[in-house]
Symmetry: C3
Subunit: 139 residues, 3 copies
C-alpha cells in the first residue's frame, strides 16, 4: 500500500468564498503515483469546508445567501461561542451544512468523477492562511 500526504494553503481575503481546488488536488494525485485507491480531502480548520458540487458562480452566490439564511453572521451577540471573543460562530454552522471532507475514488490514476463534480474549498471565516489536507492511499 502506498500513501501520500500534502497540505494545501489558502488565504481568502474576505469572510466567505468558494475556491475550486480541483487542479491542486489533481496535482497531488499525479505526485502520489497512486492508480487505485481512495483520496481524502478535508479542511483542517473547523470554520471551513471541503465539498463537491458545480463550478457555477450563480450557484455559489445562491449557496452563500442560503447559508447566511440558515445561520446568519449577525447579530454576533446571539451566539454563546462569540462570548469567547470570536465572531465566527455562524462559520462553525455553515461548515457543518457544507461538510468537512470528501472521499473520492481513484481509478486508473484519475479521480473517478461524475460529469460535473469539482472539489471546492469553502471558507466561512477568511482573512488568514488555512489548510486543506490531501491524503491518498492505494497502489
Amino acid at each position: 500500500m502506498k500513501s501520500y500526504r500534502k497540505e494545501l494553503w489558502f488565504n481568502v481575503p474576505g469572510r466567505r468564498a468558494f475556491v475550486n481546488i480541483t487542479p491542486q488536488v489533481e496535482t497531488c494525485l499525479r505526485e502520489s503515483g497512486i492508480r487505485e485507491g481512495l483520496a481524502l480531502v478535508n479542511a483542517m480548520h473547523i470554520t471551513a469546508s471541503v465539498f463537491i458540487n458545480d463550478d457555477e458562480d450563480g450557484l455559489h452566490r445562491d449557496y452563500d445567501e442560503w447559508l447566511e439564511g440558515l445561520a446568519p453572521h449577525e447579530p454576533v451577540s446571539k451566539y454563546r461561542h462569540n462570548r469567547t471573543g470570536e465572531d465566527n460562530a455562524d462559520a462553525h454552522m455553515k461548515r457543518q451544512v457544507m461538510g468537512r471532507e470528501v472521499v473520492v475514488a481513484v481509478t486508473a490514476g484519475r479521480f473517478d468523477f461524475g460529469p460535473w463534480e469539482q472539489i471546492f474549498y469553502g471558507e466561512f471565516d477568511g482573512g488568514r492562511g488555512k489548510r486543506v489536507l490531501v491524503k491518498i492511499i492505494g497502489e
Copy 2:
C-alpha cells in the same frame, strides 16, 4: 490490496425520491471478494445524495417536506443558478444537507452496519438516468 469499482444507474420518474440501494451495493461487495476494507458509495451527480438512514416511508416524506422548507424549489426565479436555464438550484442545496457520499466499513466480508442502517440514493432533480459510484478497497 484489492480494489473494485461499479456504477449503479437510477432513473427516478418524478423530481424527488429516496431509493433503498442497499441490496445493489451488497451485490457489489460480494462481487468484489473483499473481506476487510472500506467501501465508498457516492452520487456522481451534484443534485443527488447518497446517505444512510432508516427505511421508513413516513420518515422519507418528513425528509422531503423538511428539505423543501430549508431550500424551496419555488419560486425558481429566486436562485441565480436558475438563470443559466436550469430549475434545479434547490436540488444543489438539498444534496448538501443530505450529503454526497457514505463510507462504510467492510468486516468479515459484510457491511459493518448498525441495526437500522440502510443506504439510500436521494434524488432531488429526477427524470433522467443518473449514477452512483461504488468503490471498495481492501483485502
Copy 3:
C-alpha cells in the same frame, strides 16, 4: 494491509448531547498499530452523528439551539415518522445536518488533525446505549 475494528458504547442520559470521543478513538489508533492509512469513525445508529469541530461549550449550546430551530422536536405530531410510535423524527434530521461519519487521515501513527479538530459523538435521541464504529485500514 492491516485492518482494525472496535465499537465504542455511549449512553447519554438526556435527549441530546455532544461528547468528545477523541481520547477513545486515539486509543483505538494506538491499539491498531497502523501508522499510515485512513480511519472511519461512524455512528452505528441513525439518530446520532459523528463529526469534527471545536471543543467549546458555548458552541455546543449554539449548535443545539440552531439544530432545534432547523428541525424542532415539538410538536412531535407534525412528523409522519412519529406515527410509528417514535418521537424522534427530529433526531433523524439533526443527524443529517451534523453527519454520520468522519474519515481521518493517519500519518506517522497519529491522527492528522488541524489545530482545533476534535471528534464528537452527537446524540439526538439519548437515554439508551448506542454505538460508534471505529474502522482503521492501512499499514
